[in-house]
């Protein structure tokens, strides 16, 4: 079977959708030379009217995409750094997200925002290492964090076809993955998947942490049967799928590369305990409250959720009940 890399999966999704639908255009900084290694070949194939290199004007080109969407385009905006989403939060949240309701349904704003390399890329320090997906889930913007190449392809395709704004976080920790994919296909938004079946505890893992959770589950296979649930979309979240899993296992641990307070892990736990009687208190492994990733590699790693923390959290949950 052909091997598909995560980055090429994103490229292929863009190219396939641009081929399928003339209204798809791509905007972003340095995309003509594919500085993030995602838009490779698109300029040559589709031309500068559909692959538009932008000046360093994040707020304007994000709103430009909103306007283009109001006029019938399906823009994809690529951001080179996850922290730029803080800069354009207003343009996405206060404009793109609100227009359909505020106009009484007169319009749709089908813009996709892609962040290849979200989270820590090691050594990029405080302003290049955030993973701000929970902010978008909080305000109700569809938010996806694909963990695998096949999902990167399938979720990006679905995001582009969605009539609402969608933010696609491609974690730096997943970008180098490859997998065998015969026929990449759309993956529905809002649908999670059980990556590994188990009976004793459900681990919800977000993005690249799915792979850490699978490794930990394997390590613990002699002691415990760990189910790994990959939500894939954080908003809307597949709570029905997760509740099915936790109803069987009775235990819940969440591992999430966001900050602790008001993070997605807290929301996942709150919703599950509203619906399921657990046999042990749930636990979460996250970045610390208010985390800023320090530069030195050992410090950078210390702030991110690690396999040891996840292992400990699973073991405590099993011990508690």
């Amino acid at each position: 079977m052909p091997r598909l890399s995560y980055r090429r999966a994103l490229t292929r999704a863009l190219a396939d959708e641009m081929t399928r639908d003339e209204s798809v255009v791509v905007l972003g900084e340095d995309i003509r030379v594919a500085a993030a290694n995602v838009t490779t070949g698109l300029l040559k194939k589709f031309g500068p009217e559909r692959v538009r290199d932008t000046p360093l004007s994040e707020q304007a080109f994000t709103s430009f995409a909103t306007g283009a969407a109001l006029a019938g385009a399906r823009p994809v905006v690529e951001f080179q750094i996850p922290s730029l989403l803080f800069l354009v939060f207003e343009q996405i949240v206060n404009h793109a997200h609100k227009f359909p309701l505020m106009t009484g349904g007169q319009c749709a704003v089908p813009v996709t925002y892609v962040v290849p390399g979200s989270g820590s890329r090691t050594g990029w320090a405080g302003q290049h290492s955030d993973h701000p997906y929970a902010l978008f889930a909080h305000v109700g913007v569809t938010t996806v964090v694909p963990a695998t190449p096949a999902d990167a392809y399938g979720l990006l395709v679905s995001a582009i076809r969605c009539d609402d704004p969608v933010v696609v976080f491609a974690p730096a920790g997943a970008l180098d993955l490859r997998e065998d994919v015969t026929d990449p296909a759309p993956v529905p938004l809002g649908r999670g998947v059980v990556r590994r079946s188990g009976d004793d505890v459900t681990v919800v893992a977000v993005g690249h942490l799915v792979h850490d959770a699978l490794a930990v589950a394997e390590e613990l296979s002699g002691q415990a049967s760990v189910e790994v649930f990959d939500p894939r979309t954080l908003y809307p979240f597949d709570f029905d799928g997760l509740v099915d899993s936790v109803s069987r296992t009775g235990r819940l641990v969440v591992v999430d590369d966001g900050n602790r307070s008001c993070g997605i892990a807290g929301e996942i736990i709150a919703t599950v305990v509203e619906r399921v009687r657990l046999v042990a208190p749930p636990r979460r492994v996250t970045r610390p409250d208010g985390a800023v990733l320090p530069f030195a590699p050992a410090l950078d790693r210390a702030v991110q959720p690690g396999r040891d923390q996840l292992t400990a959290a699973i073991q405590l949950t099993l011990k508690d009940g």
Binding site: Q59, S63, A71, G72, H95, L101, G190
Partner: protein
Amino acid sequence: MTGSDPVRLYRTVRLIRRFEERAIELVDAGEIVGGIHPYLGQEGIAAGVCAALAADDLVTGTHRGHGHVLAKGADPARMLAELCGRVTGLNQGRGGSMHAADFGVGVLGANAIVGAAGAILTGAVWERRRRGADVVGATFFGDGAVNEGMLLEAFNLAALWRVPVLFVCENNGYATTMPVAGAVAGTIAGRAEAFGMPATAVDGQDPESVRAATAAAVARMRAGGGPELIEAHTYRFDAHHTFEHRVRLDYRPPEEVAEGRSRDPVVIQGARLAPAVRAEVDAAVEAVLDAAVDFALAGPHPDPATALDHLYASGLTARNGGG
């Protein structure tokens, strides 16, 4: 379409004037909740600019936006119903005064973030033209917005990519209570010139001057000349927002207000019409607005169960906040 039509121009300024006055009455009566940002005194700008645009040209504006929407051709009755929060309003009561939109006449929405609408319009015009339509756009903003970085970024994008957007600065001298002299370093025209955009200053109190300047700019833009800026000097006759009627802010000298009001676009344009013609237009506008008030107040209030309708165009529904 873009030739001078004094009667039509007068009708538009008179319609906006009386619409605003009727809306303020409805604010005072409690029928419009939250108040409005009156456009009184600035009517000549919306009327003049929109008179020089074609039906499928696009417009965006700001919180002081009733005039722009009416001048572009929206139904005053549905507009007033929107201000009254009724389902019969342009936005089904979801947008209100600051977000009135009528995509059917090319109004892509008034924006309450003052520097925001320019970049949105630039993207919209770019996309329409990419699809082969010969459209231009006009975006309205106040003197306060020229200090918003996003608007200046939009100047750059429009100029760089030669998107035919007319940036219309309604310089009424105040950003809420901040005098323009205390807020704008350099000049407003200088902002445009820095990006290679032609800038024209115009008397915003004279609808005909605004129309002529716009028509000239639009002709250059349609010929491929790229974006332009018009700085229309005007004066806001009333408050920044109707809340001032209660709190009585003191920031404009009375003699300045009197002088500003002496240059009234409705009077200036009305003087170009025979008295009988003017009286006929006035009566027709009054009839339209009488009907608009009746329509607005007769419209049903939205069902609270529908509060989040239209949140998602994809059909996604939000989780309930209760229980």
